[in-house]
Symmetry: C2
Subunit: 558 residues, 2 copies
């Protein structure tokens, strides 16, 4: 299908427009390329966008990360790009459609109930018309489902369900429909090979307050699962049933109008990692640090003439040798020079570049291990980078350290932390157009809620001990270079338990060739030296003699 077909359909049915989201029936989850309607319609390949097609035009809404990329990928004669950094989709819709009675179509399997209600409140005179009423966006490839063993999860599914049932009863419900696939996966200790980077089992689970449950999934070898079609028959059987309107598609409420909007508490439960998970996460980060450091040594000797794709493949080959490795946790971003200025750049056969000399290479990658998920960005000097690159990298490092070193009271939210991280950049009139940090799942989504560090995280979830977060400030100079320094941290209580701090998980050297020591304070230099000492002591016994010599130098005090 292409945009012209959509426009023909709109004209025939006298519609004013149609909304396309990038998702499928698992709202906000990772999707397969063949499920990506926006990719199909516009060629935009980023991980977040909205598309609004009218009979005569099409508008693609993208955030700061994807502005440059969208410009490169879409046909600008057919699709107008709207920057979400300047106007929200809702505001845009209100500006353009609030005063005219309109008919807007949508697929009720791919829009959440809360998004639909927001749209209805926003445009009370409009009619929103569901079309395309089947969850057909799921891939039809046969999926292998497997158990995430207790030695990794630390808790059996039965115990997790018991905890969740307490919540169901407390809400006065008889049953709850979990529509968030990562939450289903956590609750049942199940995983699958459905997605290349995120090992979740894409399923819904309907739990009764006594703990019995039904799983809804398709095209998989999980035998007890029911087809999604069964929801239409089963959901109306409950009077007191809850679902989270933020993650349940609009079609769910159309099956049973009594379904009560009830936050999915699993999101909070799974964000706090238990002792077994935390031990695994530390071990996984040690192995990931070994792989990344071996790769960095290799890169220092072999970067000449290599392409971004070759770099990413080589890094994967190092990770594959490590225990419990399952897959990358997302498609590696290896961006050289101007490519790295595109925040979520991915090298493809078309744009793949040879690593540029006298520039920087931005390398954002991670692994899914059975005992933990990693996500790390290093920016690496190739040849002799300019003093501008060194200054900007040093500012990004100051920004990283400002937050990594922060102490904050219980109940601190992500917007408060964000302002701390950005101070060193703001003071030089610089900024970056993406979040400063995200939660990370356990052998699950590399981006996990509920907390995140962002200027937009006002009123968002509070940070709590046991959570994992990335810290990843950056700086991007269009058409020139890109910088980001990312580690994962766990949130820990201070001696005074009213306060929290971050403990580092990621173990890999930060490139000193890109640091101007004169721009760092004594505290910042101490942080870096302490961090490098920890990296060296942790990794040293897993390296060859040459790798060790390289690491000793890379981790020597500034």
């Amino acid at each position: 299908m292409d945009i012209k077909n959509v426009q023909k359909e709109l004209k025939n049915s006298k519609m004013s427009g149609r909304i396309f989201t990038l998702g499928n029936m698992f709202i906000n989850e990772d999707i397969l390329p063949e499920e990506n309607r926006i990719l199909e319609l516009t060629k935009f390949s980023g991980s977040y966008a909205l598309l609004f097609v009218t009979p005569s035009k099409a508008y693609l809404f993208v955030d700061g990360r994807y502005e440059l990329q969208a410009k490169k990928e879409v046909n600008l004669r057919q699709v107008e790009i709207v920057k979400l950094s300047e106007i929200s989709f809702f505001e845009w819709l209100r500006n353009n459609y609030a005063k005219t009675a309109t008919k807007i179509s949508y697929n009720p399997w791919v829009i959440s109930q809360s998004a639909l209600e927001n749209l209805q409140n926003l445009l009370p005179t409009a009619q929103f018309i569901p079309v395309d009423n089947s969850p057909k966006l799921l891939s039809t490839q046969k999926i292998k489902v497997f158990t995430h063993q207790k030695k990794f999860t630390g808790q059996i599914s039965k115990d997790k369900i018991a905890t969740f049932c307490t919540y169901i009863k407390k809400q006065g419900l008889d049953a709850y429909l979990v529509t968030d696939a990562a939450n289903t996966s956590w609750l049942l200790n199940l995983r699958s090979n459905a997605l290349p980077y995120t090992p979740i089992f894409r399923a819904y689970v309907l739990i009764e307050k006594n703990g019995t449950y039904k799983v809804f999934a398709e095209h998989c070898d999980y035998e007890q699962s029911l087809s999604f079609d069964k929801l239409e028959e089963i959901l109306p059987q409950y009077d007191k049933i809850g679902a989270d309107y933020n993650t349940s598609p609009a079609i769910i409420k159309s099956y049973n109008n009594k379904i009560k909007n009830t936050p999915d508490e699993i999101t909070n439960l799974k964000a706090i990692k238990n002792a077994v998970e935390l031990k695994g996460i530390r071990n996984a980060h040690l192995r990931d640090g070994v792989a990344l450091s071996k790769f960095l040594y290799w890169l220092s000797k072999n970067y000449k003439g290599k392409t971004e794709i070759e770099i990413a493949e080589k890094l994967l080959s190092f990770r594959k040798k490590e225990l419990n490795f399952h897959s990358e946790s997302f498609a590696t971003i290896a961006g050289s020079g101007a490519n790295a200025a595109i925040v979520h750049y991915h090298a493809t056969e078309q744009n793949n570049s040879i690593i540029k000399k006298n520039n920087v290479l931005l390398l954002d990658s991670g692994g899914q291990y059975l005992d933990g998920t990693t996500d790390v960005t290093r920016t690496i000097a190739i040849g002799e980078p300019s003093s501008d690159m060194i200054e900007k990298n040093t500012l990004v490092l100051k920004s990283h350290i400002a937050l990594a070193n922060a102490i904050f009271p219980q109940k601190t939210s992500g917007d408060e932390l964000d302002l701390i991280a950005r101070q060193p950049l703001y003071k030089k009139g610089l900024d970056f157009e993406h979040g400063t940090g995200h939660g990370v799942g356990f052998f699950s989504n590399v981006h996990e809620g509920p907390a995140r560090i962002s200027i937009h995280a006002k009123r968002s979830a509070e940070y709590k001990a046991g959570m994992i977060t990335s810290i990843e400030p950056g700086y991007y100079k269009e058409n020139a270079f890109g910088i980001r320094i990312e580690n994962l941290y766990m949130v820990k209580p201070c001696k005074n338990p009213k306060f929290l701090h971050f403990e580092v998980l990621t173990l890999a050297p930060i490139d000193k060739n890109l640091i101007n020591k004169n721009l760092l304070t004594a505290d910042e230099i101490n942080w870096l030296n302490r961090y490098h000492r920890q990296v060296f002591l942790s990794l040293k016994k897993y390296l060859t003699r040459q790798e060790l010599e390289w690491l000793r130098f890379a981790c020597a005090p500034l």
Copy 2:
């Protein structure tokens, strides 16, 4: 009246308890001592508290600033002190009264409508019974009302009213009752001598959407004013009338149940100072800096044997000599040694101390000038303070500079700024139990909304260019000493107008005898040296030769 009388009354009328606020019919405003029921009942003299009296007990709720002071002032056998830092009044009430049907009495003139509604929601089974239905808490002394001239305000009352009427109409209202006395004073460009420190005219104003208005006030020489009793007769005449439930006493809604809760927009209008006000504020701060610096020189020569009260009187005598001086903006806090550890200490005949040697003197004071309000705290070394005092003062200075130097995007709220300020203290396991900053009125309340810098200011008003705020971190060591460093700042746009920063208003040296330079970064030292250079250059032409020599030394680079 004393607590025993209240308890007798409660028993006779079979009540479970009575709530006393510290306020009068001008909710959250400064009050006269003779209007302070909590002072009368408990002897607690702080500026914020709640008192709950039951037939057998009395509970005084105080915040972090007043915990020590309350312990000293009240009869602990009769009154139990409850720390608001540990439990909110509402939580406490729910814990103790949620499960029993209770009757609780209150004075509907001194509790806001929103507080009453919160209480009713909190304890749905309780009956809240208004008693004492007259605004009798107003002083009966004859009040002089005067015009705040246009050369100071920059805008005539008629124009302010026209702006506000646009808001009234936009809300679909025919009239609006302003119950916030500072807002009435701003709107009408009127002031009075009713309060010793806050020159506001304590009046309500009822504005119709065409701009005509009625003023309600008592015991004053403002001839057009009506008695508050008239409200009962006049308010029911309006169908579409608004008032702000946060500042209007509960009795108002009992007069006309149709009154619609509508935020008082004057709070936002008056917070953004206009160009004439800002020019006045700068001039007032220059004169206030001259007075304070002359005093500091005098103090350096004359502290021996002086009492805290003598210090405060001497400082006032310097301010009195300055142009446009009207009064202090609050009772000066001159606290020596352990007294300064009581955050809002006031020297009285009973506790007045002689300035301690080899300690620090905390001096928090300010002036009301016709062209601006000041508020400044300096902590001054007396003799040879201990290295602990110097270390803590240096940390408080780091905290002050961290925020004074901050750059922040539009829409930043006070909790985000608060976390920046406290980082240097948190990192040493230290904290202070009061807000980091408050808005400041223009020849009006020294504490003015809507924005404030506080851990508790989540979801509070955003900072905007033209606002004035204090920055005043501190450190308090019980029974030993207290430190606070406070300047006022105006909020200004950066070159990139998406960002804001602070421009300093207060001009007085920060005591270098209490600074350990080794604990400061190069940026912090630069900030202090630049600030002192500005202080010196601004004040130098207004001082005597000896004062100038002293200031040159006090402002010399670190």
